[in-house]
Symmetry: D2
Subunit: 356 residues, 4 copies
């Protein structure tokens, strides 16, 4: 995992800034012979694409992915797959505010401290726009592990959570919030509308589940499945927390309450009586569903002016104008799914490499 | 980060099992010329060492670290530092129970599923004993970044948290729980005793702070400081959750409430009015204290029998006898500190390498 | 060094096939603040560009490099630099011969054995066309180490070597062979013409020197400067041998004859009385000029029919038609220079990272 | 490949200095279930062990390897294998000469330039003693690829080469030079004796062949099999050149002369009419024997005084006393074999990981 690459054997490298001509990813180590075309990747990009509802940024990007290499006669060749997405809607706005002052909570100050200067247009490299590259790469990863079903949803917005008793898988794609609880979706509609109108923003919690991961994937001790998932998810823009299985709630349990007892099962493995562990023990998959929860902070790009300083160190107030997500966590769902897919595809190849 | 190595430029590799002759770590990439002897590392190992109170496992290990290479005339040479710790108290107990059946919540079943068989003595490679190697390596890491102060404590045991208004730095090392709140320490004494006597176990939440990290450390986008910390901490035995700054609580905030406003500061950087971000923005340190929270599940090794299966797939009940921590999170404090030190030393070298 | 990436801190990843829409490289880890535009890279690409004389392939490629990311207001930002070169002259020839049979000496059979099938158009990923990406990346590397002067030349073609007594630095760029000995250049003109007309091909030896590398660069023991150079050069298409300093000739010397004696020098280091070592001792630069020699085999693409087999295992004869270099080693000069630059830029950052 | 680690999936890390208490290697990524004990590794170490004839250094080292982890009940567990070899014969000689002045041709000056100081006892980390760790690790690698037969020999000493017409496989282990030509062995005996008595040293060329490598191993483009072998061999102490197949001789051939024509074969692959390529095309094994040649310079440790400088920059003459190999290349045979085994084991796992 070196700077802008992620993964060991199934490895991707991303490049590109919010307002450059394009962004992209190079996917390396993909097994040969897998059927792949742009049509296989576009649905995931469409899911993440901005401008599809009033609850996401109004930047209009077609996000058409283009495969530049690594595929021949419709199948992967085993050589690097170069994916490119053009930046279409780079609004020629005036960035002088952001160029001169640091948006609180943004990476502006940190990038300047690190590199001495920064591409301030739309956040440059630190923009969440880069996650489109991850989603495209994640689309390839899904094809490497076709028997694994990866599914994410929003569990809470602004502290208002869903009722798991009302969980309806079919509802997830039927509202603009990837919300499995239709009643919660209605409440969120009001809340996000209110935040948007108030020039504010809201945080969110995303849950993601991977079903069909065979027992044995995972590479202890320093490429553990749970550690890799934590790295992958914590590295997503705006993420501040990651849990596997019961997560922080497990810290309040007793050993008996937290035990995932086992009974004789079938060819697919033992029968587990619970899944507090979220499908991972000792950094290795147990065969149960992998469960991850991810906390997204509210985006720092708000219309409400906040105290800050200029590049020269002078005091100022800054309101972040422009087009922004009132709740960036919503579009985090396809990104979390993609990162989970990328980790699992990598772990599949690592396991096959070492253990045959 | 390949299987049993961690880090990019400051990189360590660990080896060893719970009941083999020894465990150890090879620390590679350490800058030359740093004064180093076993006496610099031993205090951290002593902090993690078992058998020092009735609240930890009664396994007696002196945990004497030995430096086998990489130091000449008292200073690091820039070549690999080999650290070895002998396993002294490998009790010749009968492991036939564990050899034949899977302890629920343990890595037993997953290791068998992955590798076809396992070293079942004391958990083998999956034992928390391996974390002694991390602590030793972390001691070297601290010397690489001497101006950074890393400090961890227990924040909650079994769901019972400290009162931050009563936070007393001096108290942390004055009780067997690394507890900064003396009143909480008294309550925990009763709770852990009760759990121990009941053959049960308790989870815990650890907090860790690193003060003095310069703005600019961190390597976006796939070696982000927060992602590396998440990887480092989630990879510790029994950890199920990691938060940076406000973590999951941030997901319930509005953008205004979560903003870390800035005012003109001094030569050390701007004055921040809050630290919701935990000292990291865009994966790069802001100069504020780095704040991490880590959730440890209750250890699965409990005397209460739990339903499980044998290697042959038959139903059985298993009680984990032997010497175990009633609350493994307590000894997690020096381990979390070590991992934070290891990540920061690595990020320091990465930053110096790329940015001079 | 993972599959299609090279380097540790200054790291590049290439993608693309001979007859896809484009090829490219992502350069990661470049220090920020370096002035960079396409005009800085194009001269090196022009040096490697085919079709500039009758002694290279007649494929016409403008090889215009485009920078898609990582540069803002004319300077590198420290984020990945995406370089793309369009494939302009993909002649729509009939590849049915190559699709069905294996060209002896080519990678055709090996790719099929590895991946199950291959992109046979122009050699696909195994084509020397990919080296354009290396040359572009190498152009960035040169800017990272501006005080190092890297210079390559052809030392022999078809076994006919230059007279080092006649070495004329100015001559190197004054003939189509990068030949520092004008008399040899005249002989090579006749020899390469003859080979071209006979449908044959010739091998070549390239020499490359890097002056100005400070003593201390190099990362023993498994990222030694000489080992990295050997990896970098042996990985170039058609290369079969690499020497550092006296190379194989050193194996015939005595210890006294091979000694590089030292005398007191100046601020730049000691005065060396010889440079048998080629500027590297123990994997670390000594401050003397780095010297590498690289052997290129004659290209296997010849018009003379050779016995081979079809994909189905049947016997056949194959003559490789199309546009090919009669001496592929000639255009190897800018490629070797690029690889040397890429290794040195990486070693510079590694050294700065570990040793400050 | 980071500093002191080598390999991707089958990866080893070495540590230790010539005069420290021990040296060792951690082998990571080894498949589980392989029968392994010290007795499997010792024969390779014995082959490299010093002091077995008057033609090698008289340092007496038993070189007993000890397995500290990663093996349970006689089989590898898939976890790191820690190998340790004690340094037994660290003669307490006076190193003040070497501490104060730089031995020409040695790494002394370069290490000081890099790290600011060095462990001067016996060359410290730069000593060829470290290669014992590689040989031990290589012994594990051989067990991972049991169907591959790796065999090295000395091809020339001091410029005097063997007669391949007289090649006798059985002779290789029947003389102290790993010489397949008994007549040459007799000549070398005289030559090495003369060099030893004269306080001089001789270079050597080693050849190594790996038979049974399946077509398809190799990971283009930046983990090519030939590039990895070049890295592995050029990184051995005293090596200055590496060739694959015909190497530099190929540069003097025409395309027709260099072609490895193919005819229909059997289940094991096609019949090749020649092996100029040394079993590798496009960085991938063709199924033919892999052939590598490696040039060792004469050791710089000679009794003849050579001009040099002190650490303070003053002129002096230095004769390297102590126990040294008159021809270090001889003991290079088991080291080259080990490095070839390590590369091939790694490529086997990489291939299985990506291509199944």
């Amino acid at each position: 995992m070196s700077l802008n690459s992620f993964g060991h054997l199934f490895r991707f490298t991303t490049w590109g800034e919010s307002h450059g001509p394009a962004i992209g990813a190079v996917v390396d180590g993909c097994p040969p012979g897998i059927a792949l075309s742009e049509a296989d990747l576009q649905p995931w990009l469409d899911k993440r694409r901005p401008g599809t509802s009033r609850f996401t940024t109004q930047r209009r990007e077609p996000d058409q992915v283009c495969i530049l290499s690594g595929v021949f006669e419709g199948r992967t060749t085993g050589t690097p797959i170069s994916l490119m997405i053009e930046n279409a809607d780079q609004r020629s706005k005036d960035y002088s505010d952001v160029a001169k002052a640091y948006r609180p909570g943004h990476a502006d100050y940190a990038y300047d401290a690190k590199y001495g200067f920064r591409d301030y247009r739309g956040g440059g490299r630190s923009s969440a726009r880069e996650t489109a590259s991850r989603v495209a790469a994640g689309g390839v990863a899904r094809l490497v592990i076709p028997s694994v079903r990866i599914r994410g949803w929003v569990e809470a917005i602004g502290g208002d959570g869903i009722d798991y008793a009302a969980f309806d898988d079919a509802a997830i794609d039927a509202n603009p919030f990837f919300c499995p609880d239709p009643a919660a979706a209605l409440r969120w509609e009001a809340a996000v509308d209110a935040a948007r109108k108030a020039g504010s923003s809201l945080g969110a919690v995303i849950a993601c589940e991977a079903v069909g991961v065979p027992a044995g994937w995972g590479a202890p001790l320093y490429a553990k499945l749970d550690a890799e998932l934590a790295h992958a998810c914590m590295g997503i823009n705006a993420v501040k927390g990651v849990e596997i299985g019961d997560g922080f709630a497990a810290a309040a349990l007793t050993g008996e309450a937290n035990a995932d007892a086992m009974r004789p099962g079938d060819a697919d493995g033992p029968q587990f009586l619970a899944n507090h562990a979220g499908g991972i023990a000792g950094g290795i998959a147990t065969g149960q569903p992998i469960r991850v929860r991810v906390a997204f902070k509210p985006t720092s790009s708000i219309l409400t002016p906040v105290e800050t300083i200029t590049r020269d160190g002078a005091a100022t107030d800054l309101a972040t104008k422009g087009r922004h997500d009132p709740c960036v966590g919503i579009r985090g769902v396809p990104v979390v799914e993609a990162m989970v897919a990328l980790v699992l595809a990598d772990q599949f190849l690592l396991h096959r490499g070492q253990c045959g």
